[in-house]
Amino acid sequence: MTEVAMTPTQTRSNLGRAIAIALLCIAVYIGLVVTLADEYLHADLSLGLPLAVRTLIAVFGGLIGAIIFLAGDDLGGSLSNVKLLFGIAVCFLVLGTYFGLFVAPPERFMGEVQRIMYVHVPTAWNGLLALTFAFACAILFLFKGDWKWDALMEGSIEVGVVLGFLLCCQGAIWAKPTWGVWWDWDPRLTTTAVLIFAFLGILALRKFVDDPVKRGIWSSVATIIAYVDVPIVYFSVRWWNSLHQLQSNPNTVSEPFWIPLRANAFGILFLMTAFILLRARVSKLRLENELAPPPLLEAELGEAV
């Protein structure tokens, strides 16, 4: 063991990591531990916080914690962060799967079919979250001009598109026995399809542009514009008549259903963050490869934008 002097950047990223882990722990405690204790130990660990406040803390703690965690990673050779996230994700997903399949009772009208909600809803939340990361990365890339944000943006969009595709498949499997159809062009489904194709288009744009500087700037601008569809997807069920039901909230969902729902939500959150980190590493290596020959770089930078 040799002592290595810490650079200011390392100290800052360690601090960021500590803040991120603290936020994520708070989110898990408020979102899951309180519910588990209430359901099985009949103990009130809610610290007197009302339900709506707890929901907000769990959602924003998870969102901001994951963003800071992503920002604090150096996308370097060490995979310790990725392994940590994968490990935590597996624990949550095992818990969620067990509770979702064996502990939670079947829904009173939909029966066993309703169990697909335990993956469908967490996938939807996390898919929109991944695209929110991409949006944040696009702003940071344009504002700060650091390649790290370009790499993280590419990772987030790709993971978000995969989650969106899975979301539609799960939704179709749930829709067939309940609605009676696999798919219909209702506002929620249509805006979701538009969202997936818009971000798929941005990934295609990134493939077509060879100049890394132009690619970064154009895809960041496109990401900011395409992100408009995220609130539209969210509000679509309120703005229009739709086949899809309104968003559920803790008051419309029985408490035994909360545990698998939230355990899987955290599981997919950690899994998604791990995949984004892995994918961003690939992007960063590609970028370094493209930027490697110095004579070409100067020529490219000269005519860029």
Binding site: R108, E112, D150, I224, N241, Q245, V253, L297
Partner: protein
């Protein structure tokens, strides 16, 4: 050189330019969102008509391809078990339409549940449906304590209206 490689917009002029791009993108995004959210697009774009809308449309409803959405009126379902000849009434707060449908409805179909039917209004005064979709609400409830939840009970429960009074809109 390494500075340039880690920072694509190292020069101040370039960073000003990318920040301009950011402001521009935000402006486009904000305008697009405002147009959709506040511009009344939700009045012009309609996924389905309610029975009231259908009556208000008058002659336009005949022969046109229409989606009609509403609640299945309790006690109005006829020939549920048959392969064809299913009939029921669909209502909203102020209107009601009689619907004839072919084919077997989804298992969730029952009294008091939301449906969206595709088809056309006939001169005979009923709605001929050729695609029946069930729309459920955002309530997911565990069965009441002590309720037996074996498969047969469950099947019966899914076709009944038990417990619906507190969940119907």
């Amino acid at each position: 050189m390494s500075n340039v490689a880690s920072n694509p917009t190292a020069s101040a002029a370039m960073r000003r330019q990318t920040r301009l791009f950011m402001v521009g993108a935000f402006a486009v995004a904000a305008i697009a969102f405002m147009v959709i959210a506040a511009g009344g697009i939700n009045k012009n774009l309609v996924y389905y008509w309610t029975p009231t809308d259908l009556h208000a449309a008058g002659d336009k409803a005949y022969g046109a391809s229409i989606r009609l959405g509403g609640m299945v009126v309790p006690g109005s379902i006829r020939n549920r078990s048959g392969v064809s000849g299913l009939e029921f009434d669909v209502k909203d707060a102020t209107g009601m339409v009689h619907v004839k449908s072919n084919g077997v409805p989804p298992q969730m179909f029952r009294e008091n549940i939301g449906v969206v039917v595709e088809g056309t209004m006939t001169r005979a005064g009923y709605f001929q449906c050729n695609r029946l979709m069930v729309s459920h609400n955002n309530q997911y409830k565990a069965p009441k304590a002590g309720h037996p939840m074996n498969k047969e009970e469950l099947k019966k429960l899914m076709q009944s209206t038990e417990g619906l009074s507190d969940s119907s809109k």
